[in-house]
Symmetry: C2
Amino acid sequence: MSGDHGFSEEQRHGVYRAIFERRDVRSQFRPDPIPAEVLERLLRAAHHAPSVGFMQPWDFVVIDDAQVKQRVKALHEHANAQAAHNYRDERAALYRRLKLEGIVDSPLNLCVTCDRERGGEHVLGRNTMLDADLFSACLAVQNLWLAARAEGIGVGWVSILEPADLSCVLNLPERVVPVAYLCLGYVEEFLPQPELQAQGWRSRLPMGGLLHGNGWGGELTHSPFLQALQAAVEAGDPPTP
Amino acid sequence: MSGDHGFSEEQRHGVYRAIFERRDVRSQFRPDPIPAEVLERLLRAAHHAPSVGFMQPWDFVVIDDAQVKQRVKALHEHANAQAAHNYRDERAALYRRLKLEGIVDSPLNLCVTCDRERGGEHVLGRNTMLDADLFSACLAVQNLWLAARAEGIGVGWVSILEPADLSCVLNLPERVVPVAYLCLGYVEEFLPQPELQAQGWRSRLPMGGLLHGNGWGGELTHSPFLQALQAAVEAGDPPTP
């Protein structure tokens, strides 16, 4: 048996490509429809995410109705106008220039939800970490996002929405939380870097500053393994200016 | 430009393989060390997850110290003994038979955390969905999990731990939440299906029951697209007994 359990170099490369070339898409959507069988593959990818106690707490609300999209777009515009007040001067001007969603431009919207009562009162593993069900739904989102990238489909997560208002528009029962509101569609291009980075909103952090050995703040020096990891991470981080 | 932005069939297949053949590993760990440059790739995959406002709220505590592992294992044993009281009779017997972690068996443990104050007071997009930072850390976990599968490395998420106790063992500052405690290592095999399913704890839900058209409970009949989706999903679901 090979150490990689059968992944060819090219398959492994595909996984890393999806991870590194995935983007949060807001502006490059094309109107062409996504074929139903392609969406089925994306949803099945989401449905095969790990979940605490195998509870599979997710549901998928598929939105192709223009009126529903318009109502969600209006919710976004309201929440975004509020959020813009958090910034001042140049930062405020930059914030207002950013396009943060493609709700109407994208052919399809998808809300991934979490049913907090699925699996009954005692879900295995959800005794101490009570949000593990919400976390499971997030893992489903990332499966879908990466599969979409491999299919040439862009995904954008719209987080500037009041959850209670969104629940109202989508008729969600009280026990069901809207975790992610996603816009999906083929795209003109996947940008070479994240849009917020390209526009100067925030930079990618060097990874070396995010690693700790055996406890918070622990140096990567206490074992030959940690020392080798430190060297590998420094080699991969961009040079300090 | 091709519609898939350059993914070959084999690369795309690699992404779906990682998604469908990923397992939550508890029992099949081999003791061989993970090379530092392979762990570096996995961490960089995690670091390239999407994050709300590009805040990158994650840190990575890498644990290769046997004493730290033993302390975490003791926390798990305590929390798991409590959790076992939730079940009765056959279910309780089955619960006690399940092996739910590989903390000490795996060569490496990794805690992925979320710094709730990173990025300052107003993180773009985290105005209405306040847990979007925790969700971002989850997306990083799934990137790492899938990259690990492509490298032949198994990952298990130990959720049966009291977060406050884990923070204490790892010296986490108050603003930093332990989102995922992971066990990593090469494995003897990746099981053909999830362990909780194979052991009869819970079955995979048919996906057809998890889809809604344009709102909760909406039938997939209101557009030709939704009808085609319904047909594709039914074709992919296992036959009803």
